[in-house]
Structures are given as C-alpha cells and as structure tokens.
C-alpha cells in the first residue's frame, strides 16, 4: 500500500489540539475530503524558466548590451569618482552620480532598443490562446508561435522572444546555472502548493478541481537537498495568494488544468515579489511515485514583470540596474520592448496587449495542504 493511498484512509482522523489539550473540530479540508472524495496535495519541488538547450533560436543582431556599454561616454566621466565614493563607503553617493537609473524609472530616457528573438526556436510550452498565431497576421497583439520539442505547434512563449537574446538567459547562462541548483525552490522563503480534488474517476483518468496557493513558509529539505514529500504545508495568511478553484482533467496519466489567475509569492536572494499570472494552465505527467512533472504556462502581467525584474534590493539599496547589467539587458530597453511582444489581455480601450505568455518547467511532490478553518473549500 503506497502512502498516497494510505492518506485517503486516514482522512477520517480526528485532530485534537496539542499539549494543552482542548479538542478542536476536525479541519475543513479533512472533513470535506471524507465527505467528498479524494484530495491530493502537492508542493512544487522544481521551478525554472523554460530555456531551450537544443535550438534556442538565433540572434542575428547579437546579444543585448548593458547600460554601461550603451552609455560608455557618460559612464567614463563619472566612473572614477563613483568608484572612489564606493570604496569610501558612500554607496548612495556612488550611485547618485551615475546616469539616471532607468531601472527605477524607465521614463528617464528614450528607448535605447532591445534585441528580441524573432526567428524560430524549439521550446516547451502550451498553446495558451488556442490558435496558431502568425506575426504576419498583424494587429496589436500579433505574435509568432513556437514549435515544441515533440513538434507541437502553436506554443505561446513571448517571454522567450523578449529574453532569448539576453546573455543571462541563453543556455548555460546565469539563469540556467541558478536553476541547476533549484534555487527558486530551495532558497525561496515560500512554497507553491497545488491542491487537486478528484471529482470523478481516478487519479489516472478523471475529472478534478484544483487550486493554487502560496504557502506560509518555505519547503522542507532533506539531507540531500531534495524537497521532502508528505510534509504538511500551511497556506499563506493572505487570501491574495489563494487562487480560485479551476477545473482540470487527468487523461492517461496526463494532468491538464486551467485557466486560472494566480499570484505566486517568491522571496529568493535579493528578490521579494510575486508573479502575477493570468489564465494560467498546468500540464503535467503523473509519475509512478506520486509526483508530477510538467509545465506551467500563463500570461504574465507586464507591469508586474517589470517590477519583478527590477525591484531588487540588498538592504535599502535598489539594485535593479546592477541586476540588469549582470544579466545582460537595459531596463529601458526591456520596458519599451514589453508591449511590442505582449500577446495577452488587450486593454479594452486601446487594444494594447498587457501580458506576456511565459512558460515555467516544474515538478511537484505529494504534500498536505493545510488551510485555516476560515477559508472555505472549493465549491
């Protein structure tokens, strides 16, 4: 008997409170499960932007340059003094004489340009808009779909168009190396939780309702740095980080669910923000050990995306520009390029698209999703 099945049989268990021993009512989810069928919880155990290893696409104009390269004359004038101030401990002073910081306020200078990846590439993802889109179709949100590794057509991943010609996003670049350590999960102050309730059928083939949460605390790691299975994870206090219920199905061991809007909190190194995803979809293979592995595809709100890229702090110091230099783009360039590649959620008045299709590769292992009583369960 696998633990996963065991869980079902123990869902009837009564939970009495601790030590100091007043008995509390059985928790909502456990009761609901006892009445309404199986609930399967998961905690995300891997998270990485899809960066294609094979056929990432070509950048005929080269890769993007950084601000110190673009504004080399202006930097040359101040760099000695800035370094001197930095060395003397005056970090703010050192930054203050640099050219205006477009990462704090992108309107400080005109568009310096940004090289996007316009040609074909082979990249994982989902067909979010249900169409085989062509740039040649024209219109404000026009975009060119990618082809997947298995030849799937219609894959929407405009984020790769935006970042595909940035040094840090190229294969074996900074992000690849970061993701190799799984730092988005292991160093994250929060975890991402998925709850799947079986409505009909089995977990091999059935209809489900699902919900995404940010957790109250980080994942638990075992001695080998792997995410621990079957851990009880509390959901975040703030309902902003609880998605609505969304529908899904499992067919021949493939889980498909969505769309749903979700905010997923991340606090990793100098970054403390959340992803604001719209019309998010999940597609994952159910694994024999009870875990799942697949892709999360969604439209990423561009305002949030810019914040996510640039709101980087170490202590009180805004280091968005340092991060941009490090990764290999200019904030102003990206800012102006975003609307050009945006492919989702057109503004009802202007028709300008406000979100960018994005793909995350993820894995998730079984977990208990613990919700306070006051949160009502999915209807």
């Amino acid at each position: 008997m696998r633990i996963q099945l065991l869980i079902v049989s123990i869902l009837g268990l009564l939970v009495a409170c601790g030590d100091d021993s007043a008995t509390t009512a059985p928790s909502a989810d456990i009761l609901a499960a006892a009445e309404g069928g199986e609930i399967h919880g998961y905690v995300f155990s891997q998270w990485a932007y899809a960066i294609p290893k094979v056929d990432p696409g070509v950048c005929p104009e080269g890769l993007n340059i950084t601000e110190p390269e673009y504004l080399s004359d202006e930097y040359a004038k101040v760099s000695e003094e800035s370094k001197r101030r930095y060395k003397a401990g005056d970090v703010k002073g050192a930054i203050s004489i640099l050219p205006a910081d477009a990462c704090k306020d992108p309107s400080v200078r005109p568009d310096p340009g940004h090289i996007t990846l316009d040609g074909p590439a082979t990249i994982v993802g989902l067909d979010l808009d249900g169409q085989h889109s062509k740039l040649s179709a024209g219109g404000q949100c026009a975009h060119e779909d990618f082809v997947g590794p298995q030849g799937e057509s219609g894959i929407d991943n405009q984020y790769w168009r935006l970042m595909g010609c940035v040094t840090g996003f190229r294969p074996d670049g900074l992000f690849d190396r970061l993701f190799a350590t799984n730092n988005s999960i292991l160093e994250n102050g929060y975890a991402t939780l998925l709850e799947v309730q079986l409505v009909e059928g089995t977990m091999e083939s059935g209809r489900v309702e699902a919900r995404l949460f940010t957790s109250a605390g980080p994942v638990s790691k075992d001695a080998n740095g792997q995410v621990i299975r079957d851990m009880s994870q509390q959901v975040h206090d703030d309902p902003m980080y609880h998605s609505a219920v969304f529908e899904g199905e499992i067919t021949d061991g493939i889980f498909n669910a969505g769309p749903v809007d979700a905010k997923l909190r991340f606090k990793v190194q100098a970054l403390d923000n959340h992803y604001e995803f719209k019309d998010l979809r999940l597609r994952a293979e159910m694994q024999a050990d009870g875990s799942m592995k697949g892709v999360l595809a969604a439209y990423w709100d561009i305002t949030n995306m810019f914040d996510f890229l640039t709101e980087v702090y170490i202590g009180p110091i805004h280091l968005g520009r340092a991060a941009a230099n490090n990764i290999g783009y200019m904030c102003a360039g990206v800012y102006h390029a975003m609307p050009r590649v945006a492919d989702g959620h057109p503004d009802p008045e202007t028709g300008q698209c406000t979100s960018i299709s994005t793909v995350i590769q993820f894995a998730a292992v079984p977990a208990f999703v613990i919700k306070p009583e006051k949160i009502t369960l999915a209807q």
């Binding site: 060395k87 401990g89 074996d172 670049g173 900074l174 190396r177 970061l178 190799a180 350590t181 730092n183 292991l186 160093e187 102050g189 605390g217 980080p218 001695a223 080998n224 740095g225 606090k267 990793v268 190194q269 100098a270 403390d272 702090y313 170490i314 202590g315 009180p316 490090n326």
Partner: protein, 448 residues
C-alpha cells in the same frame, strides 16, 4: 576590564585566605563569567592558545574543490592542490551549510554571518552578533594587550566580519604598516621583560576548592567501602584541578620566539591580486610575531572581502563580477578567469599557515598552539549558494584539534563548525546557534 595592571608578586600578601594569597584593588566584578577560558586553556601547557579566522570572498567551485575521499590522506582536488604542503597541519570541512527557514539568502551576507553568528541574518540590515571570534576573545583574549587584531589585506578597514553586534564592527588594520605600528609601536612592552602577574582569579578558584576538601573526612565516615572509593576518585579529580591551577600561578617560561621585527616594506595597497598577496604576507609575518609576543590571542584576517574585489593586474574585472559575468568554459566546465582567483587564494592560505608554522614555540611551532578557521561567504559564487560552504582549519590548538583530515558535513549546519571551534578553545558550551542552525553536535572527528 584592565587586568593588565602589573602587580608585583610580593604585593599579593595583603589578604590571606586559608593560606592562599589574594590581592586587593583589582576589578573583580565579572570575573566569574570570564574566568574559566584561558585558565583551563592553559591546562598543563603554559603556552597560550590562539584562535583566528581567515576569510576569503566568493568561495570556490564545489565540484573542483571538495575532496571526494574522507578522513586522513584525502585526495587532493584541482582547487586544493596549492595546500598540498600543509595538508597534515590542516583540515578540510566540506558540505556544511547555513540553513535558511524563511529567511532569504542575502547574497554575500547570509553565508558569512550565518557561519560566524550561528544563524542566518533575518533581514538585510540585521546581524545577530556577536561573531565567533568575539565569543572566543571574551574568553581567551581578555588578558592580552589587544582583545583581538583585525587585518584586511585589500587595504579597506571595513573588510571585517568581526562584530559584537550589527552596530559595532571591529575595523581592520588596512596596511602592514598600520598593523606594525599598532602592535610594535607606542605601548609595546617586551613581555619577557615585564614582571609576571598571576591571575587573581586563579587564587579565588583555589580557595573555593580548598573548602571542598574539608568535607572529605565527614563523608568518609558515613560512606561504605565502594562509595568511599568513588569519593576518593572525586577528590583525586579535585586535586588534579588544584594542581593545574597551581601550575598557572607559576611564572611561565619566557616567550622564546618573541622579537620586534623591522618595519614592513611598503607595497601599493589596492585590490590588485599581486599587491594583496604581498601585503597579506607582510601582515602575516607581523601577526605571527604579535602572537609570539602574546600581544593578542585572537585575530581575524580578511584576505579578500565578501563579494571579492580582487583584480588581476591590468584588468577592471573583479573576481566577483567575473563569477557572474564570465561564461562557463564549455570544455572545462567552469569559469577559468574567476577560478584563477580561487587558486591564488588557496596559495595565500598556504603561505599564511606556513608563516605561523615557521615560528618555533615550545617543542613545536606557533601554529601548533593556534586554531585558524578559513571560510567564505559562498560555495559557488555564481549562484550565491550557501550550501556546502568551504571551510579549512589549521593548527592543532595546543593539542585539542586533530589535523590532516577531511570531514564532510553532508548538509549539516555551519554551526557545527563554530561549536567545534569554541569547544576546542575551551569555551564551556554544549550547544550553539539559533533556530535551524542550532546544534549540540561538535565535529568530533577533529576534536581530541
């Protein structure tokens, strides 16, 4: 508290407690709290024991640095080849991590302050001091002229990780000359010429123990044969401690290796690696003599700063920027330019250890009576990883530490390293660290 005040031995006979002399006029207030460390440390060995940290920025490449084999005769790895000569005098401690539970990894801070303070900093501004060296110097450093000496080979006084709390970081000596002037300039007095002053705290401890002995006769009368034997053993233990204390009340041997060095040569002070290496070597020589003359028993050397600013001659790229910006060489599998700094760092560590080892002391060398902990703020700097941080120790702490070993911590908290350092230096603690980084397990493999 100024316990340096010289008291002539004959001046002790002012009050007398059960035949034990005790002097007047010393500030006693907190003597109990700090009394045991150096006293016990000197047990049976009149030579002082010293502790130091040796910090280097931006870590190493774990696959190329971490030894694969454990225990004695561990196999050298590509990035540890430079330490081959001193392998028997040092240990490698791999795989120890700063554990984070909800705290985010504050790049270039979490690793170092998690290690030194026993817990990951909670916010970008906070550090839960004091640091390890301060804890140890509170114990062993109170009687020497300097509580501790901090040095920065890159010439920046802010390159110091030694702190009592976040608002009181001990500034580093930024040049060989400033270190030299501080130690051997005004205020230096030859310890061998000074009159010996036994620690009055030892006298107090002796008199407390003498009362216990009075109980012996009474107990012997009421105990059976076997219990009397056990009591005998207890009193044998009491007597042994009394003898240890008596030994420390005797005037120690002169510090044979203590001499005043020449003023150091002047080399440009900047972040260029050749200059840093040369300045570091000069500082190490001055430090070795400062230790030999017992001017301090605790030191902190910063070879390169957090987010290492080391540069190669003629290059504007720092070690830190290279770890982020240099492409990984496809064939080699690592960043060759950034890695060159790792090798230079390991060479500098080797020369530092050799410098301490070159000073004779007792039947061995100064190094034998030192415990130096080398550490960094990241393992792989490219990703700011604080998992599997690199640690090395050198010296045997006056016989308290085994050397020549590689121990893998398999993900255990770095607090185990800090706890081990404190216990080896005679601190009377059973556990150390906070939250997930709390531990009561020292690294017994290297503790004697």
């Amino acid at each position: 508290m100024n316990l340096k005040r010289k008291i002539h031995r004959r001046g002790f006979l002012c009050g007398s407690l059960q035949g034990v002399a005790i002097s007047v006029g010393l500030p006693f207030l907190d003597l109990f709290l700090n009394s045991n460390g150096d006293a016990l440390a000197a047990t049976g060995a009149p030579l002082p024991r010293r502790f130091g940290t040796w910090f280097f920025g931006c870590g190493m490449n774990p696959q190329r640095w971490n030894p694969v084999t454990e225990g004695r005769d561990w196999e050298l790895t590509p990035e540890l080849v430079p330490v081959a000569d001193i392998r028997d005098k040092m240990n490698v401690l791999s795989g120890f991590s700063v554990k984070m539970a909800g705290e985010s990894n504050q790049v270039h801070r979490t690793g170092v302050f998690g290690t030194l303070c026993g817990g990951a900093p909670k916010t970008a501004e906070s550090i839960e001091g004091p640091s390890l060296d301060v804890l140890i110097s509170d114990h062993v450093g109170m009687r020497t002229r300097f509580r501790s000496l901090e040095m920065a080979a890159m010439g920046d006084p802010r390159h110091s990780n030694s702190l009592r709390d976040v608002s009181s970081v001990n500034p580093a000596e930024p040049s060989p000359l400033s270190l030299y002037s501080r130690v051997f300039g005004l205020g230096f007095s030859d310890p061998n010429a000074a009159e010996f002053s036994p620690d009055p705290r030892l006298l107090l401890r002796q008199s407390a123990l003498s009362i216990v002995a009075v109980d012996r006769k009474r107990l012997e009368r009421i105990l059976g044969h076997n219990d009397r034997q056990r009591l005998d053993q207890y009193f044998t233990s009491v007597r042994q401690l009394e003898q240890q204390i008596a030994l420390q009340l005797e005037e120690p041997e002169p510090l044979a290796a203590c001499r005043i060095p020449d003023s150091p040569a002047q080399i440009p002070i900047d972040s260029e690696v050749d200059h840093v290496v040369a300045n570091h070597a000069l500082m190490a020589e001055t430090l070795a003599l400062a230790l030999a003359c017992d001017q301090t028993r605790v030191f902190n050397m910063t070879f390169s700063n957090r987010a290492s600013g080391l540069r190669m001659p003629g290059s504007a790229d720092t070690h830190h920027t290279l770890t982020h910006e240099e492409a990984r060489d496809k064939t080699l599998g690592y960043q060759p330019r950034a890695t060159a700094f790792v090798l230079r760092t390991m060479q500098a560590w080797t020369s530092f250890v050799k410098t301490l080892d070159a000073v004779p002391e007792g039947s061995g060398s100064l190094l034998d009576n030192c415990l130096v902990m080398a550490h960094s703020e990241t393992s792989e700097a490219n990703t700011h990883s604080v998992m599997g941080l690199p640690f090395m120790t050198a010296g045997s702490a006056g016989g308290k530490i085994r050397t020549g070993l590689h121990v893998s911590g398999v993900g255990d908290s770095t607090s185990r390293v800090g706890l081990t350092m404190q216990q080896a230096m005679g601190l009377n603690i059973g556990s150390w660290g906070t939250d997930q980084n709390q531990t009561s397990r020292p690294i017994t493999e290297i503790l004697v």
